[in-house]
C-alpha cells in the first residue's frame, strides 16, 4: 500500500499532463510525427520554389497539412462552442459552406456565370456571405435554443436542404471567376511564399483567443452547457448563449466557405466540403471535449483539427487512395478514442500505479 508516497515533481507534472485534456491530441500528434520520422524523414522537408504563376512558394507535406487544415481548424472553433453550450453538434456545416460559397460567387458574378470582371468587391461578397451564413446559423440556433430541439436533429434540416439552397442561389449554374486576385485568398498572394489560408486560420484563432480572453463567452457557454437552470438563476440567458454560439458557428462557416471557393475560384455544390462536419466533430472529440457539452478546451479542439489533417496527409503519402482513406482513418480514430476512454484510462492508470507501487516494495524487500 505504498501508493500514497509523494511522487517526484517530474512524475507529478507528467501525470498532471496525462490528466489534462490536451494530452490526447498532443500524444496523437507526437505519435504521427514519430511514425513519419521513422518511416520517411523526408516527410518534414520544406522546399522553396516557384509555382506555375511564377510566384515564390514553400512546399512540402507540412505546408500542405497547415494549408489544408485551415477550414477544419476554423470550423472546430465554432463546433467547440456549439458543442459546449448546446450539448450537441451542428451537422449542417458542410451544406452551409456550400451556401456561403455560393453566395460569394453569386455576388461576384451577378447573373453571368462567367464574368470577365467581378461585379462587386471581394470584401463586399465576403461580408454578404458572412451575413447570410450567420442568418442560417441563427436559424439553427433558434430551433435549438428556443424550440428545444436536439442540435443534431435541428441541423439535420439545413443538412438536407443546404446544398439545394446553394444550387438555387446560382440558378443551378457553376460560376467561375477568372480574376486572379480572387484566388489569392485560397492559394498564394504573389510575393508571399506561405499559403494564404494559413494566415486566415491564424487570424481566426487570434480572434477567438481574444474573444475568450476579453469576454465571458467561455464561462457562459460552459455554465449553460453544464447546468442551464443554474446559469439562468445567475442571470445568464441560456437560450441566448446557445443561440449566439450558432451564430458564431455561422461566421466560422462563412470564413471556411470563403477559403473553399477561393481555392478553386468555383464551386461544386454537391461535393464542396463534403463530410467536413464529421471531421469537425471529430476534431472536437479528439480534443478530449465531451460531445455532451460543458467544459471545453479550444486549444485541444484546434489541435485535434490539425491531427486529423496530419493523419489524412500521412495516409495520402503512403499511397492510400482517397476513397479508401476513410477506412484507415476510422481505425486510427477508434484507437485514439479507445485510449482516451475513461474506462480504459482508469484501467491503464491502475496498471501503472501497480507497476510503480511494485518496484519500491521490491527494493524494501
Amino acid at each position: 500500500m505504498s501508493i500514497d508516497k509523494t511522487p517526484s515533481i517530474g512524475l507529478q507534472k507528467a501525470s498532471g499532463l496525462f490528466r489534462r485534456q490536451i494530452f490526447i491530441p498532443l500524444a496523437a500528434l507526437i505519435v504521427l510525427i514519430l511514425f513519419n520520422l521513422i518511416a520517411d524523414p523526408s516527410f518534414f522537408e520544406i522546399s522553396y520554389g516557384t509555382n506555375s504563376a511564377g510566384n515564390p512558394v514553400l512546399s512540402g507535406y507540412l505546408i500542405t497539412i497547415l494549408d489544408n487544415a485551415s477550414e477544419l481548424a476554423i470550423l472546430a472553433i465554432g463546433m467547440t462552442l456549439v458543442t459546449a453550450a448546446s450539448g450537441g453538434q451542428d451537422i449542417s456545416v458542410g451544406a452551409a459552406i456550400a451556401i456561403s460559397g455560393s453566395v460569394v460567387l453569386r455576388v461576384l458574378c451577378g447573373d453571368n456565370p462567367r464574368p470577365d470582371e467581378m461585379q462587386a468587391s471581394i470584401l463586399t461578397a465576403f461580408l454578404i456571405s458572412c451575413v447570410v451564413s450567420m442568418l442560417f446559423g441563427a436559424f439553427n440556433g433558434t430551433l435549438v435554443a428556443y424550440f428545444n430541439i436536439q442540435p443534431m436533429i435541428a441541423t439535420l434540416i439545413l443538412y438536407t436542404a443546404g446544398r439545394s439552397i446553394a444550387a438555387w442561389i446560382n440558378n443551378n449554374r457553376l460560376p467561375i471567376i477568372s480574376d486572379p486576385s480572387f484566388g489569392y485568398f485560397g492559394t498564394f498572394i504573389p510575393g508571399i511564399p506561405i499559403p494564404t489560408p494559413i494566415f486566415i486560420a491564424i487570424i481566426c484563432m487570434a480572434i477567438i483567443a481574444l474573444v475568450l480572453k476579453f469576454t465571458t463567452l467561455g464561462l457562459y457557454a460552459q455554465s449553460v452547457g453544464i447546468n442551464p437552470n443554474s446559469a439562468k438563476l445567475n442571470g445568464i440567458n441560456p437560450a441566448f448563449i446557445k443561440f449566439i454560439t450558432y451564430v458564431i458557428m455561422g461566421l466560422c462557416v462563412a470564413v471556411a466557405g470563403f477559403i473553399k471557393v477561393t481555392r478553386f475560384s468555383t464551386i461544386n455544390y454537391s461535393v464542396v466540403a463534403l463530410d467536413i462536419e464529421m471531421d469537425a466533430i471529430l476534431a472536437v472529440a479528439l480534443g478530449g471535449n465531451a460531445l455532451s457539452g460543458g467544459k471545453f478546451s479550444m486549444v485541444s479542439s484546434i489541435l485535434g483539427a490539425y491531427v486529423i489533417q496530419f493523419l489524412t496527409t500521412t495516409l495520402f503519402k503512403f499511397n492510400v487512395s482517397s476513397s479508401a482513406l476513410p477506412a484507415y482513418k476510422a481505425v486510427v480514430v477508434i484507437v485514439l478514442v479507445v485510449l482516451s476512454a475513461p474506462t480504459v484510462r482508469e484501467t491503464l492508470k491502475k496498471a501503472w500505479n501497480r507497476l510503480r507501487a511494485g518496484s519500491p516494495a521490491r527494493k524494501e524487500a
Partner: protein, 502 residues
C-alpha cells in the same frame, strides 16, 4: 456471522482518487430492526450504501448476507436485488418516461414477456394499499416528486426483500406522507425485514428506529441502542464535538422599531408559477421567513421576487424607486441574491471549478465584456474558502466532487461576493449536516447585523425560530398569516399553518 443478523459488513474500505470515503467500517443489521445510519454530510453514509448495493466496488472488506455461505460479492444493483437488498434513494431513481406500473416492476420480472394487464392490476392494488395517489398506467414524469418517491418505496416494499435501504426518503415528503411511510416501515419490521434508514431528521430517528450507527469522516464511531442514546450525545457523536454552539444562536428580540427603512416592497406580485398575487416587504437589517408545508407556494413567491419564473403582474419598490424585475439579471442589478431550493438542479454548475462557481454571479453582473481576471478570481475564491471554511482540495476542484454542505457554502459564497442588499435563502440547510447548518444560521444573523436584509426559508421550524424575527405563513399558495415578536412560537406557527383550529 451472528445468528439474528441479516447483513454484516466488515472492514469496508473505499476511496475515490485521493479521498478516503470509508475506512475500516463495520455495520450489522439484525432481523426485524430499523437501523438508523447517521452522520454529517460526507461522513460516508451514501458511500457505504452504494458499496452495499453494488453501485461502487469496495476496495477492501467483506459483506455477509443471511442465507449465503461466506462473503458475498455484489457487483451491480441488479445482483443486490437478486440477493434481497432493495433500495430507495434520496434522488428519484426511476425512469420518468415509463408508466408507474413499469417503474414498479421493471428489472425484476421473471418472464421475458410483459403481461401488461396483470402488471397494471398488481400495481394498482399496491398503490391503493399504500394510498399512493397515482395510476398504474400513468407516465411517471407527470407525477409530483413526492408521489414518485412513494412509487419508489412501493417498488422496494413489493420486492420480497430481506434488507430494505431507505436513503433519506423523507426529504421530499410532507408530514402525512412521512407518517404513512413510518407505518409501512413498522409493518415490514414486524415481518422480519431489516431496514437501514438514513436521515438527517433526529425526530424521525427517535420515532421509529431501534439502533443507530454513527459514521464520521469515513470512520465508524459506534453502534448504539436507541434507548441508551440521548439526543445531545448523538449530535455530539456525529459532530465530534460538544454542542454548545446551538444555544449560542438566538435571534435579536429588539422588535421591529430597531430596523431601518423598508428596503424592498412588492405589491400584488405574481408569476407563472405562483397561484395568487402576493404583497410583501422587508426592512433593512431584518431577517424574515416564509414558512408553510411543502408545496404551499413559499418557494414560488421568492422565485417571483427574484424573477426566476416569468413575472406576470405586480409593482416592486426598492430603495424608494419603482423597479422592474422580469429576469434574474434585473434582480441582481438591484442587489438581490437568491440561493435556490434545489442545490443540485438549480445551484451548482457541476463540472466547473469551485473558483468559477464562486465568481459566477459577480461575473454576470460585471457583464459580458468585463471578465474577472484569473488572479482576481483566485483571490476572491481564496477569501471565501477561508471565510466560510469550505473544505476543498483547491480552487480548481470541480464543485461536484465536494460534499453537499460544502457545495452549499460555495453557492452562498457566490452570492456574498456580489454584496447583495437583500439575500433570499431558500432551504439553505436542507440535506446539510448540523455543523454547517449552525454556521449558516450564524452567518445569516451576522449579515442582518451588518444591515443586510435576508429572507430565510426552511422546513425546520426551530431553525426559523432561531433566525427569523418575522414569519410569513403560506398555505395553498396564499399568505395566511404573519407572525412576529411574542407570536413566534412553535405552536402558534403550527396552528397558523394548519388553519387556526387544531
Amino acid at each position: 456471522m451472528q445468528k439474528d443478523s441479516v447483513l454484516e459488513m466488515r472492514g469496508i474500505y473505499k476511496s475515490f482518487y485521493s479521498v478516503k470515503a470509508l475506512q475500516d467500517v463495520d455495520f450489522t443489521l439484525r432481523e426485524g430492526e430499523i437501523h438508523a445510519l447517521m452522520g454529517e454530510n460526507g461522513a460516508g453514509k451514501s458511500t457505504l450504501i452504494k458499496v452495499l448495493t453494488g453501485v461502487y466496488a469496495k476496495d477492501e472488506g467483506q459483506i455477509f448476507l443471511k442465507g449465503h455461505e461466506g462473503p458475498v460479492n455484489i457487483k451491480s444493483p441488479e445482483e443486490a436485488q437478486k440477493a434481497g437488498i432493495s433500495t430507495v434513494y434520496q434522488e428519484i431513481t426511476l425512469c420518468p418516461n415509463l408508466t408507474v406500473a413499469e417503474n414498479m416492476y421493471i428489472g425484476r420480472e421473471r418472464s421475458p414477456i410483459t403481461n401488461w394487464r396483470r402488471m397494471n392490476a398488481d400495481a394498482n392494488r399496491i398503490l391503493e394499499a399504500l394510498a399512493i395517489p397515482a395510476k398504474a398506467q400513468q407516465q411517471l414524469g407527470t407525477c409530483s416528486i413526492a408521489v414518485q418517491q412513494m412509487v419508489a418505496i412501493a417498488r422496494a416494499v413489493d420486492m420480497e426483500c430481506k434488507v430494505l435501504i431507505l436513503d433519506e426518503p423523507t426529504s421530499s415528503l410532507d408530514e402525512s406522507e412521512v407518517s404513512k411511510l413510518f407505518k409501512l416501515m413498522l409493518d415490514l419490521k414486524s415481518r422480519g425485514v431489516g431496514i437501514i434508514f438514513v436521515t438527517h431528521f433526529l425526530d424521525q430517528v427517535y420515532e421509529v428506529c431501534d439502533r443507530i450507527t454513527v459514521l464520521r469522516d469515513g470512520h465508524l464511531i459506534g453502534e448504539y441502542a436507541i434507548e441508551n442514546m440521548p439526543r445531545v450525545d448523538l449530535v455530539s457523536k456525529m459532530l465530534g464535538k460538544e454542542l454548545d454552539d446551538l444555544s449560542e444562536i438566538k435571534s435579536g428580540d429588539e422588535g421591529e422599531s430597531s430596523y431601518g427603512e423598508v428596503i424592498y416592497e412588492a405589491d400584488g406580485l405574481s408569476s407563472t408559477a405562483t397561484r395568487s398575487p402576493f404583497s410583501f416587504s422587508i426592512h433593512k437589517g431584518e431577517v424574515n421567513g416564509f414558512t408553510g408545508l411543502l408545496g404551499s407556494g413559499r418557494s414560488e413567491c421568492v422565485r417571483a421576487i427574484f424573477g426566476a419564473d416569468r413575472v406576470t403582474s405586480g409593482k416592486v419598490h426598492m430603495d424608494g424607486h419603482d423597479i422592474k424585475v422580469s429576469k434574474p439579471r434585473d434582480a441582481m442589478k438591484h442587489g438581490i441574491g437568491y440561493l435556490p431550493e434545489d442545490r443540485k438542479k438549480d445551484g451548482i454548475v457541476g463540472d466547473l471549478s469551485v473558483r468559477e462557481n464562486i465568481i459566477l454571479a459577480l461575473q454576470v453582473m460585471k457583464g459580458f465584456f468585463g471578465p474577472i481576471s484569473r488572479a482576481q478570481a483566485e483571490a476572491f475564491a481564496d477569501e471565501y474558502i477561508k471565510l466560510l471554511d469550505i473544505k476543498t482540495a483547491s480552487t480548481d476542484t470541480p464543485i461536484k466532487s465536494l460534499s453537499g454542505g460544502n457545495q452549499q457554502k460555495v453557492i452562498l459564497a457566490r452570492w456574498l461576493l456580489t454584496n447583495p442588499q437583500y439575500l433570499i435563502l431558500d432551504e439553505p440547510t436542507r440535506g446539510i449536516d448540523i455543523g454547517t447548518k449552525i454556521e449558516i444560521q450564524k452567518l445569516v444573523l451576522k449579515l442582518a447585523s451588518e444591515g443586510k436584509s435576508v429572507t430565510f426559508i426552511s422546513s425546520e421550524i426551530d431553525e426559523m425560530l432561531r433566525t427569523c424575527s418575522r414569519l410569513i405563513v403560506m398555505r395553498d399558495g396564499k399568505e395566511v398569516g404573519e407572525l412576529s415578536g411574542s407570536d413566534l412560537t412553535q405552536s402558534k406557527i403550527m396552528n397558523t399553518i394548519a388553519g387556526g383550529a387544531r
